[in-house]
Amino acid sequence: MRGAAPPRPPAAPATKPGYAGPRTPDRKPDLNGIWQVMNTAHWNVEAHSASEGIPAGFSVVEGGSIPYQPAALAKRNENFKNRLMADPIRKCYMPGVPRATYMPFPFEITQTPKHIGIAYEFAHATRTIFLDGTPHMEDLDFWMGDGRGRWEGDTLVIDTVSLGDQTWFDQAGNFHSDALKVNERLTPTDVNHIDYEVTIEDPKVFTRPWKMHMIVYRRMEKDLELLDYECAEHVYEKLFQQKAGKP
């Protein structure tokens, strides 16, 4: 939680002066490696007590609650009731942005001057972030969106659009429409930590843009690599068991 932190000046270079970690040959902070968030946002981005199988957690939403429009709040509550069947993750769909960042699975960043590739262990989702100044493609619909990035000082800023309306923010039914725009700011504070700030804008669902904050941690185990959560395989395992008459 960074709720008490002073507001950042927009577009200021090196908002955390003093990043002294390694840099790539083009002098950007070196984000190559495997990272993971350690919080409970995947289950509920808002504050929540524990329930069966789900750890309690603080809110990662600036100000505590998501500023839903009244009808949207009712839909969120309906989603929550139906979450065991309705959560797109449980159908093995790609998690979308920003949810992919804070699922309880690691992800790997591969950084080049023109592209940043992000590979997620869950359902082998990927993003290729274009840093070459090319504009978004027009009005499309992708599970992981169309992400275009740039460096503002030592902060990697990614604007993602075309995210569709099929993904959720968490298992608690927090949702968005196809008007979603996501702005992510990744500011490495040292070699092993990234300050992750994401701004959610969706005028069809929320009364105003809102922010989430969390820390992304470098996974430091030697020779670590991403493994598989081949979610679709588990769907077919269940299907074949059902067809074979096994419970």
């Binding site: 080049t112 590979a119 990927t126 599970w143 081949e230 979610c231 769907v235």
Partner: protein, 343 residues
């Protein structure tokens, strides 16, 4: 871009491997040394012995000193299919599989000058996959039962196709090769697959850890990237790691030329060689080992990667997300009510 997306959407809906709209194959390039099989004629049984291409091209170096092959690529269509059928199929064009490519916005990459037109299965020289009799028996059963979801091609189920199948040209043809210190990373446009290939000589993983795309360990031999791939998932018999585009419905297994219907065992492993031929072309070779399935190691090789046009943008291909309706239509299987526990 929209045109291409519409093309991809159509592929999702039609499902490549059982598409029946195929009309004609692609004619073999002229001037090739191998004789072209006529319609219904027996395919040529033997080709000149395969030799690895000798490349004098020296790629630029990455900042950490690797040969730099990074960038966006498109698949080059196979000159022929994977294999020479054991039993020729009458009344079938010799190269039909290659016609299913979707290059709606991009010119179809061409074979380099002088490349031999032959099956991608280059060793043994007869172009046939050296299946053990029991593997052929299983293959016959699988191919004869493609209307059953339990036997359906894993790529139609949107399972990760493994290696080398992820590199065998498919209707979704883009690749992105990244290089960072100590690693080569490949993103496949097909089903948003990826591999991270460490180059530091570390051992593979505990055999108890299996991955659909295998566990990759690479090293550079001069300018050639060599990758050993092991630890493949084999929990589902739908995981066929070989297979080019579509198997023609109704074609007996012995007459297939596509590498379909061959599940691998727990000892399956592959050695890949990526040879940069020039600044725009990479030759691909995969040596396949599985003593439980094949009578001998065998080799697939072809000119695999052509550098993509400058304005090429990889597009998300979300295979599984749109597949429930396909399965219902194709096999009367309803997966729409199945939910998976996630942490």
């Amino acid at each position: 871009m929209l045109t291409r997306l519409i093309g991809l959407a159509a592929i999702v809906l039609i499902v490549p491997s059982l598409a029946t709209a195929q009309t004609q194959g692609t004619p073999a390039p002229t001037g090739a040394p191998a004789p072209a099989a006529g319609r219904g004629a027996a395919p040529p049984a033997n080709y000149p012995p395969y030799t690895r291409p000798v490349s004098t091209y020296v790629p630029p170096r990455t900042p950490d000193g690797q040969p730099d092959i990074s960038g966006l690529y498109l698949a080059i269509p196979l000159p022929r299919n994977i294999e020479t059928p054991s039993v020729p199929m009458a009344a079938r064009g010799p190269n039909r599989a290659n016609g299913e490519f979707s290059y709606s916005l991009n010119e179809r990459p061409k074979l380099p000058e002088g490349a031999i037109v032959r099956p991608a299965g280059v060793d043994p020289a007869d172009g046939k996959i050296p299946l053990k009799p029991e593997a052929m028996q299983l293959r016959k059963e699988i191919i004869a039962n493609q209307e059953k979801v339990e036997r359906l091609d894993g790529r139609v189920l949107c399972l990760a196709p493994g290696i080398p199948r992820s590199t065998v040209p498919a209707p979704v043809v883009g690749y992105q090769i990244f290089q960072k210190p100590g690693y080569v990373v490949i993103f496949y446009e097909q089903s948003h697959l990826y591999r991270t290939i460490p180059l530091d000589g570390r051992a593979s993983l505990d055999p108890k850890i299996q991955k659909a795309m295998g566990v990759s360990r690479g090293h550079w031999e001069g300018n050639v990237l060599v990758v050993e791939v092991t630890n493949f998932t084999n929990n589902l018999e739908n995981n066929w790691v070989i297979g080019a585009v579509s198997a023609t419905p109704g074609v007996p297994a012995e007459s297939l030329a596509t590498g379909h219907g061959i599940p691998h065992s727990d000892v399956y492993r592959v050695t890949e060689r990526y040879t940069p031929i020039d600044a725009n072309t990479i030759h691909y070779e995969a040596v396949i080992n599985d003593e439980k399935v094949f009578t001998q190691p065998w080799t697939l090789a072809w000119y695999g990667f052509a550098r993509a046009p400058k304005d090429y943008v990889p597009i998300e291909y979300a295979c599984f997300e749109g597949n429930a309706k396909n399965l219902l239509l194709m096999t009367n299987t309803d997966i729409s009510g199945i939910r998976v526990n996630v942490p």
